[in-house]
Symmetry: C2
Subunit: 646 residues, 2 copies
C-alpha cells in the first residue's frame, strides 16, 4: 500500500552522526536538497534539461535568433526588443557571431556583449554562437572563458565561413565545427550546453547528403547536446532529415529553423548566403508581389504558420526555432497564431529575474530599483553572493558606482528631442516640474500636447499595479510630492492574481504600502511633525543629496514589504526596504535629475537651474505602512502634511 | 530641521567601491548591521549591557541563586524549577561552585553541568560561580575553558573557603578573588562578564570594613563588571555600604543579595556559614515561632518585601538578587508582591530560545520537537551554525542520535509508578492506548481515576494553543488517530495575542494548520485515498519505523508553518515542516514508544507487546493545510478517512 511517491531518503541517524563529535553541517553533504525554494524550476535547470522537461510534459516551445546590431542606437532598440519578445516566453534566444564585428570584444555591438545583456539584464536563456575557422586555439579559449565569466552557459558551435575564397585545412587547427565541440568539451568539461547546426538539405560544401549526416553525427558524438537546423521551405524536408538523423543513431533534440519570409530582398539575400533554392511554388507567389512588403509578409506568415502546424502535428517536433532577422512583427504573428506566444502575466518573483547562473538563488532585492532593474543588476554585477531568503543575512554588500548612465542597456529608449517634448523645452519653476510628474501619472497630455510616457526614474509607462493608486498619486504630485515609486498594501491575494500575483499557484501574496518621493524641505519639515503621530506604524527614511539622513528604522534593519506564502515552501520575501541600500540608491536617484533631465538644457539656462535647485535642496523620502491588513495610512500622512502646511 | 534621529550612515558610493572590481561583499565589512532581525535585543547583549539598558530604561529586575543538587533526581527537579522560575523573568540566575561536589566535572550534579543546562536547555542567562583557593592555575584555566565551550559567559569570581582551618597564602597562587579576576582577564580577555562578591558588613576575615572596601575596589579595578552582595538584614546596611563603595570610586552596579527567611534551621545554618549576626528584632519574632515553618516563612516574606521596597525606593537599587536555597515559594511570593514577577506571555519566538551564544541567531526550527525542545537542543548541540531566516539555506545538518533518554534534563519529571498510573498498569489492547491519548487531551481521569498529565512525546499538560483544537482532538484520538503535535491555522492575529502571539508588538502572526499523529496502516491506507482529493492543498509525510516514506512535498523543501510580520523587520518564520528532519524525528518519536512506555512493563508481558506492536506497525503522519486563510480542512480529511473506513 505504501509505494506511491516513495522517496529514498531514509535518514538512519546512526549512519549520519559518528559519535556526535563531528560537526553537523560537515557530515551532511550527502543531502541533495536545493538550498532555496524552487520558485521556478526553470531557473535551476540547464537548457538541455529544460528541453527534456518540456518534451516530457508535452509542452511545445519556441526560440528566437537575433544578430548583433551595427550601431549603439540599434543596440538600445534590440535590447528593448529582447524585453518585449522575451515576454512571449521563448525557451531561449540566440545571438549570432559576426567575425567582422569584433564579436568577442567589449563593444556594445559585439556578439559577446549583446548575449551578455540578454542573459544578465533581460533574464533570457541565451545561446551565443561561436565560429572557429581562422582563429587560434587561444583566441577561442579566450572567448569561451569570457563567455563563462559573463554567465553564458550555451554555445552554438559553428565552423564559420573561411576568410578568403580558398578553403585550406590547417593541421591541428579548427577546420570543422566538430573541432570546436571537442575543444569546448576538453577545456570546459560539461560546463556549456552545446548546440550544433544541421542542414536538412545537406551542407552546401558537403560531398553528399549522407556525408553531411555523418559529419553531424560526429558533432553530436563529440558532445553536442542538440541540433538547430538551417532554414528550409517544406515541412517534409525537415521530417525526412529528422528520420535520417535518427537512422544514423542521433537521439538528441533536433529543432527546425523557421524562417518567416518577411520581404523580397531579405529572402534573396538569405538564400544567397545559405545557398538554398527557393521552391518554385513560393517563387510563383512572391515574384508578382515583390514590391508589396505587406503582402509578402502576410504570405510569409501564412506559409510559416502552415509549415509549423504540419511539423508540430507530426509529433516529432517539440520546439521551433525562429530566424527573426531582428524583427518583431512577423515572428510574433506566427507565434500568436500557433498559440505558442504566451504573455503569461504570472511571474516567478515580482521583479524580472536575471539569468546569470551566479544569480540563480537571488530572491530578495531592495524595492528602490523596482523600475530600474538593469541598473540594479549593473551595480551588483561584482557581487560574489546574492541575497536569498533574507536580505539582512548578506553582509550588506557595497553597490558599484553608477557613472555610466549612457550604457546602452541603461539608457532611455527615447531620444533627447522626445524627452524635451515630454519634460518641457523650457521650465518656468518648480511647479512646471510638478506638472511633468502629474502628467506621467495621469497619462494626460502636457500643456504642449505631449504625453509623458517615461521619467528619469521610470523608462516605462506606469505599472498596472501603480494604476490602483493613480488618483491619490495625481493629487499629491500636483502639490509637490514627486512620487517615483509606490505600491499598495495587499493582505493575502491569491498568487495567481493577474495584477499583484507572482510565484507558484496556490499561494497568497502580501505587501506593505510603500511610497517614495522627492519633496522640498518645507514639506519634509511638516511631514516629520505628522509622522510623530504614526511613530509605531510608519517607518520612514528621509535623505538629501548630501546624505543627511533621518529615519526611525531600528538598527538599520531591512523591512520586508512584499512576501508570498506558498504550498509546501518556505516564505519568500522578494522586496525589502533596506536602510543601507537606500543611501546607495539615493546617489543614483539624485543623479538622475542631473544626468537625465538637467543636461537636456544649456548650462546656466533657467530650466537647468530649476532642476539643479531641486537636486540640491529636495529630500528623497520613503514611507512604509507596517499595518498591511488595515487601510493604507500613507495618504492620510500626506494629507495631514498638506493640512499642516496650509 | 533635520537633526532628529540622525544616523551617521552616509554611503558615499565613491568611497565604498574602488573601481568596481573588488568583490562587493568584501568591501562592506565596515557595516555594523547585525545579521538577523533582532527579535529580542536581550539575546544579543552581554549581561553587563543588559543591566545597563535596564537601568537606563528605569526597569527594575531580579536574579536568582541556586546551588547544585546532591542527587540525579534532585537535578531533574531543579531543572524543572529553572523552567518554572525562569518564566517569572529573572535577568539571570547563578549556580554556586561546590568544591566538594566535583564542580567542574561532567556529573549531572556538578556546578558546571547544572549551569550548562540552565544556559543551553532552559535558555537562562547564567553566572557560574568559581572559587580559586587550593587550585592550580591549570585547573582553573581548564574550568574556564570548559565553561566557555559550553556557552557560559559569566563568572562569579570567588576565593572560596580554605580546605583546612589554617589559611596559608601560597606564593604565586590564587589567594584572593582578585587573583582569579586578573587571571580571567589575562587569559580570556573580555570574553566573560565577571561578578565579584561584596560584604555589606565587611568580610569576616578582613582586618576592617575599610580594608575590605579596598579589597573590593581592587577586584573591580582588576576587571570585575558588577558586584553581588552577601545577605544582610537591614536595608540601611546595604545603602551605607553602597555609598561607601561609591566614595572609594567604585562605579559598577552593586546588587543587593536578598535572603527571604524560609525556616529556622536554614537561617541558623546560613548565619553560621556567613558569620553574620541576626539582629535582635528578628530573633525576637522568630524564636517564639521556631517550630512553625509556615509562620516563619510568612514572616520572612513580609520582611523581605519591606526591605526590598525600601531598597528600590531609595533610587539607588535597580536589581535584587535572591538567595533561593533552591526553593520556589518564598522567593516567588516576594517577587509577586513586589510586582517584579512578570509571567509575560510574550515570547520572542514561538519556542523557547537557548541562551548559548552560538545559537543567538537561531530563529528557525522544525515543528516536530515543539514539545521536546531540550531533546532538539541536545541533538543539535554539535552544529556549528544554526539556521536563521530560512531553514533550507542551512545545509540540512545531521541530527545527533538520541540514545540517552535518561539524561536528567531529558527525562520525564514523573517517576515510573506515576507513569504507570497514568498510562495503565495493564493494557488490554490498542484501544486502551487510544484511551490514554484521549484522557491526555480531555484532562479527564482515566478508568482508574488518574489524570494523564504527560505523554512520552509531551512531558507537560496540553498547551493553551492546543486547547483551541481540543474537541476535534478528543474525537480523533478515540478512534485511533493518536495525535502528538498540532497547531491551528492563524490568519494574521496581533503579535500581542495572549495565546498565539510572539515577537515584538505591532506585528501579525500567522500559522498553517498542522496535525501529527500515529495511526494504523488501515487508517493510513484510507487516509491516502482521501488525500488525493486534497492534493494541492494538503502536504503530507507518512513514515513507518522502517523508514518507508510517502510524501507529496516537492523537492524535499521545508514548508513554513509559523511566521510573523513585524514593523521595520524582515519576515520571521520560526517553524517549518522539514522533510529531511522529519526522518530524524521519526526515529525519536518511534523510540519513545519503547523507551518511555513499553519498558514500564515486564518483557514478554501483554502490555509491552501491545506497545511493541504499535511501534512496529503504526505510521507516523504529519499533515499541513496550506490554505491558512480558509477554515482548517484537516478535520475534514480525518472525517473523510473514518467515513471511508466505515
Amino acid at each position: 500500500m505504501v509505494n506511491e511517491t516513495q522517496q529514498s531518503c531514509s535518514a538512519s541517524s546512526s549512519s549520519r552522526s559518528d559519535g556526535g563529535s563531528s560537526s553537523g553541517s560537515e557530515s551532511s553533504k550527502d543531502n541533495s536538497r536545493c538550498s532555496t525554494p524552487v520558485l521556478d524550476a526553470d531557473r535551476h535547470e540547464r537548457l538541455r534539461e529544460k528541453m527534456r522537461r518540456r518534451q516530457e510534459a508535452g509542452d511545445k516551445w519556441f526560440s528566437l535568433e537575433f544578430f548583433p546590431p551595427r550601431t549603439a542606437n540599434a543596440a538600445v532598440n534590440l535590447i528593448s526588443r529582447f524585453d518585449r519578445m522575451g515576454a512571449g516566453g521563448p525557451l531561449f534566444i540566440d545571438v549570432t557571431w559576426h567575425p567582422a564585428g569584433d564579436p568577442g570584444s567589449d563593444k556594445e555591438t559585439s556578439s559577446m556583449i549583446i548575449a551578455n545583456t540578454a542573459v544578465n539584464y533581460c533574464g533570457l536563456e541565451t545561446i551565443l554562437h561561436m565560429t572557429c575557422c581562422n582563429q587560434t586555439k587561444d583566441d577561442i579559449t579566450g572567448h569561451l572563458q569570457k563567455a563563462k565569466r559573463l554567465g553564458l552557459k550555451n554555445i552554438m558551435a559553428l565552423r564559420g565561413d573561411p576568410a578568403g575564397e580558398e578553403w585550406e585545412e590547417e593541421v591541428d587547427g579548427f577546420n570543422h565545427a566538430v573541432d570546436l565541440v571537442k575543444h569546448i568539451r576538453s577545456e570546459f568539461d560539461d560546463y556549456f550546453d552545446i548546440c550544433v547546426a544541421g542542414y536538412p538539405k545537406g551542407h552546401p560544401e558537403a560531398e553528399s547528403y549522407e556525408a553531411d549526416l555523418r559529419h553531424l553525427k560526429e558533432k553530436v558524438f563529440a558532445g553536442a547536446d542538440f541540433i538547430i537546423t538551417q532554414l528550409f521551405f517544406r515541412p517534409e524536408t525537415f521530417l525526412k532529415f529528422m528520420k535520417d538523423c535518427q537512422a544514423t543513431g542521433i537521439t538528441c533534440p533536433i529543432i527546425p529553423g523557421i524562417f518567416p519570409i518577411q520581404g523580397y530582398h531579405s529572402l534573396r539575400q538569405l538564400v544567397k548566403l545559405s545557398k538554398l533554392e527557393v521552391p518554385q511554388e513560393i517563387k510563383d507567389v512572391i515574384e508578382p508581389i515583390k514590391d508589396n512588403d505587406a503582402a509578402i509578409r502576410n504570405y510569409g506568415v501564412e506559409l510559416a504558420v502552415s509549415m509549423c502546424r504540419e511539423l508540430l502535428d507530426s509529433g516529432m517536433v517539440h520546439g521551433l526555432h525562429f530566424y527573426t532577422l531582428n524583427r518583431e512583427v512577423a515572428t510574433t504573428e506566427v507565434l500568436k497564431r500557433l498559440g505558442l506566444w504566451s504573455e503569461d502575466p504570472r511571474r516567478p518573483l515580482p521583479w524580472a529575474v536575471s539569468a546569470h547562473p551566479k544569480r540563480r538563488v537571488e530572491d530578495v532585492r531592495p524595492i528602490f530599483w523596482a523600475s530600474r532593474p538593469k541598473s540594479y543588476i549593473y551595480r551588483t554585477q561584482e557581487w560574489d553572493d546574492f541575497p536569498n531568503g533574507r536580505w539582512g543575512n548578506s553582509s550588506s554588500p557595497a553597490f558599484g558606482e553608477l557613472k555610466d548612465y549612457y550604457l546602452f542597456y541603461l539608457k532611455s529608449k527615447s531620444p533627447r528631442e522626445e524627452l524635451l517634448k515630454m519634460w518641457g523645452e523650457e521650465l518656468t519653476g518648480e511647479e512646471s516640474v510638478f506638472e511633468v510628474f502629474t502628467c506621467y501619472i495621469t497619462g494626460e497630455p502636457n500643456r504642449n500636447g505631449h504625453r509623458v510616457t517615461c521619467m528619469p526614474w521610470n523608462d516605462d509607462p506606469l505599472a498596472t499595479e501603480t494604476n490602483l493608486l493613480k488618483d491619490h498619486l495625481e493629487k499629491v504630485n500636483r502639490r509637490g510630492i514627486l512620487t517615483i515609486n509606490s505600491q499598495p498594501n495587499i493582505n493575502g491575494k491569491p498568487s495567481t492574481d493577474p495584477i499583484v500575483g507572482w510565484g507558484p499557484s496556490g499561494g497568497y501574496v502580501f505587501q506593505k504600502a510603500y511610497l517614495e518621493f522627492f519633496a522640498s524641505s518645507e514639506i519634509v519639515t511638516a511631514l516629520l511633525k505628522v509622522l510623530k503621530k504614526y511613530e509605531l506604524r510608519v517607518n520612514y527614511h528621509i535623505v538629501n543629496v548630501k546624505g543627511q539622513n533621518i529615519t526611525n528604522a531600528p538598527d538599520l534593519q531591512p523591512n520586508a514589504v512584499t512576501w508570498g506564502i506558498f504550498p509546501g515552501r518556505e516564505i519568500i520575501q522578494p522586496t525589502v526596504v533596506d536602510p543601507v541600500s537606500f543611501l546607495y540608491w539615493k546617489d543614483e536617484a539624485f543623479a538622475l535629475w542631473i544626468e537625465q533631465w538637467a543636461k537636456l538644457y544649456e548650462e546656466e539656462s533657467p530650466s537647468r537651474m530649476i532642476i539643479q535647485y531641486i537636486h540640491d535642496n529636495y529630500y528623497l523620502v520613503n514611507l512604509v505602512d507596517n499595518d498591511f491588513p488595515l487601510e493604507n495610512c500613507l495618504w492620510q500622512v500626506v494629507d495631514d502634511t498638506f493640512e499642516l502646511l496650509n
